[in-house]
Amino acid sequence: MILHSETPWPALLILLPLAAAMLSFLFPRSAKFTGVVTAIIIALAVVGFGWHLQSEGVYRHAVGGWGAPLGIDLYGDGLTLLMLAVTALVGLAITLYSLDYFNTEQARWFWPLWLLLWAALNALFLSADIFNLYITLELMGMAAVALVALKGGRDALNGAMRYLLATLLGSLAYLFGVVLLYHGYGTVDIALLAERIDHQPVAWAALGLMGAGLLLKTALFPLHFWLPAAHASAPAPVSALLSALVVKASFYIFLRLWFALFAPLGGEVAWLLGLLGALAILWGSWQALRQTRLKLLVAYSTVAQLGYLFVAFPLAAVAGVVLWHGVIYLLISHALAKAAMFMAAGNLLRFGGHDRIVDLNRSVQQLPLSTAAFALAGVSIMGLPPSGGFIGKWLLLEAALQQGQWALAAVMIVGGLLAAAYIFKVLGYAFTPSTSREESIPIPATMAWAPLLLAFASILLGFLAPALFSLLDIGSPFERGAGS
């Protein structure tokens, strides 16, 4: 009876973390238990939702029974499912990792904040309503800022403040666009808007505002200025979830809106996005190579890897659905690999008490599991076979070569080489003798294994392509924008 198709899995995915956040706030002593149980049930609920999608097709649920345009609709297709699944997987790993990471005072705030962030992510992926999406963005942004500040100290507070201002500016721009669209077309439901939108100045203004707001949140070059400080100064599990999930969530909204509303409007905009993506790859990778601190290196690597997601836009007009599958693949494997990388970096930092790359040799040699996690995640980030990152980058590269876009192809290859350079810059210290004899803090087993398992997953992803591609075909959002 549990797997009955009427079981409201999506509603559960939103309400459960919300309720768990309240519980962990009320009873801080059992917060860890609440967190672990929630993470497990969410994983099961995602499986249940996948089951439902497989058997019943696209999911649409009118909240309150009103239906769009009066009410809010929840919507789920293959893309939604994959985003929920990645969130559940990374979320589970972050939950396990965080059990021993925080001190009592920090844990008191971490658990409710993290569970609220999780609820916001799930709600965001399931929303079909641009105003409701704004509220989920707000919830996600506020929780993320508070989590960055959790570590305390000048750097973290500074990073959190910048992040707060950037994310608020992004939200306001997005909200302004929502207001324009509502005034112009009389609905905030994405599907209805898609039917009504036309070539009017108001649609252009909305595209500009919402696009700029979302790209600021996604940290596309040159709007990435807030990301390195925020992601590098946050506690390790928070960095992991920011880089793996939070920037992907705003990209997800951008993608949804692009296909439903803006693709018919924006032929030239696609080239602008591609150009910025290419610049992000080059600038981010170069900056990552120049860093002397491990966490900043990983953060700049995120700037670069986000660029790959945008390089696809100008190629899509010809390449079509396969290319978008590649983008989603890249997104998922980056989420897994980057979460693993930040957690592994957190272990090295905790063990040695610092994250200066040149002095890492001793930590690297004493922590084989974390080093292995970092290396495996690095394989996926570099895009080497057989990892998930390889599949995504290969599909992108293939499209660029077939269309004769040599410049874009060259940028992607250079980005891969630079990624290899900055990852070997770190791993190189595993093979140099260490001289320092400092005190070190032991790493609990969950903290060692959580990143390793995620890194394994990012490699394994390379073997799952056919299955995941067929999932993406459930109500594929890419058909609409592909041919035009």
Binding site: E6, P8, A11, L12, L15, L18, A19, A21, M22, F25, L26, H61, A62, V63, G64, G65, W66, P69, L70, G71, I72, L74, E105, R108, W109, P112, L113, L116, A119, A120, A123, F131, N132, I135, T136, E138, L139, M142, A143, V145, A146, A149, L150, G152, L157, L180, Y182, H183, G184, Y185, G186, T187, Q200, P201, V202, W204, A205, G208, L209
Partner: protein, 310 residues
């Protein structure tokens, strides 16, 4: 027409004064004035609900929050510090040009919008009977788009969580109790019961005229702010779990209702015959939590718990 034009010009003038003001205290006073003027604009635009919210939250409570933040800032922050920094003239000019470009683009887009918007007021009016209340704003907030409100109430709690998590970083001792002030004390004794009454009225009135949980909660919070100003502090026995229960009562009521409606297979579908009662119940919990949360935000610090684990 003339009145509206005057109102618009005043608003612009106040905004300019506010932004160019170097004295933070003055800027906050101007901000409150701006909020009050804005409320009149909302009334002129036939949006009394928004006007109420603007007065209670935009002008009143935000002003109090800003003042409380100002009081926490270090004093050795000379006004006009920024004017000494030399900036090249090219940067402001480029920024100004870019902003002008964006503003004119937006202006053009707004200009091209139809005057009569194809909004949803027709749909709202058509379904008002089913919603359980007769105030369309309340119907939208608590029924048609109740899911949004559920998440919004959580955002408010989240804001407090964020502030409290920051406070635990540096455990500065609570500011010393001020000596009792007779005028303030008397005023408080008169005003607090009145404010609670007003809050209850706003909550009740929300069903069929402007009002509702947010405005009522803000008024309740104003009572709390007055109490705090007069030196009242939450007893340490209540600062732990009881306070946390008060803070989450609204969100938890909402989540519980949402979970119960799931048994009927549809999220947040209120049965028509009970909708009015359920909305009032939700709003009561929400008002209570909003009031406590806003007052707690004003205090800033997490109240001292018994056992000293603040």
């Amino acid at each position: 027409m003339l009145f509206d034009a005057l109102l618009g010009l005043l608003l612009l003038g106040l905004a300019w004064l506010l932004l160019s003001c170097r004295d933070l205290f003055k800027a906050i006073v101007l901000f409150v004035a701006f909020g009050l003027l804005m409320a009149i604009v909302w009334v002129r635009l036939d949006a009394p609900d928004v006007a109420l919210a603007e007065v209670a939250i935009g002008a009143g409570l935000t002003g109090a929050l800003l003042m409380s933040a100002l009081a926490k800032l270090p004093v050795d922050n000379p006004p006009g510090r920024y004017s000494n920094e030399k900036t090249h003239w090219l940067l402001p000019l480029t920024l100004a040009l870019m902003l002008l470009l964006v503003a004119s683009g937006l202006g053009y887009a707004l200009w091209s919008l139809p005057v009569i918007a194809p909004g949803l007021s027709g749909e709202v009016a058509a379904n008002l009977e089913q919603s359980g209340v007769s105030n369309p704003v309340t119907a939208v907030l608590l029924n048609f788009r109740g899911y949004d409100t559920l998440l919004e109430i959580v955002v408010l709690l989240l804001a407090l969580l964020g502030v409290w998590s920051l406070n635990s970083l540096d455990a500065t001792p609570a500011t010393a109790e001020k000596p009792a002030n007779l005028v303030l004390d008397t005023l408080m004794r008169l005003l607090v019961p009145l404010l609670i009454l007003v809050a209850a009225y706003l909550l009740w009135a929300g069903a069929n005229s402007p009002g509702g949980a947010f405005q009522a909660g803000a008024v309740l919070a104003a009572a709390g702010v007055l109490l705090l100003l007069a030196g009242w502090r939450l007893p340490t026995a209540l600062a732990g779990l009881p306070l946390r229960l008060a803070l989450v009562a609204g969100p938890v009521a909402f989540i519980t209702l949402a979970a119960l409606t799931l048994l009927n297979a549809r999220l947040l579908e209120l049965p028509v015959e009970h909708a009015g009662m359920l909305i009032l119940l939700l709003e009561t919990f929400a008002m209570f939590s909003i009031g406590v949360t806003l007052a707690a935000l004003f205090l800033g610090q997490r109240p001292q718990e018994r056992g000293g684990s603040a």
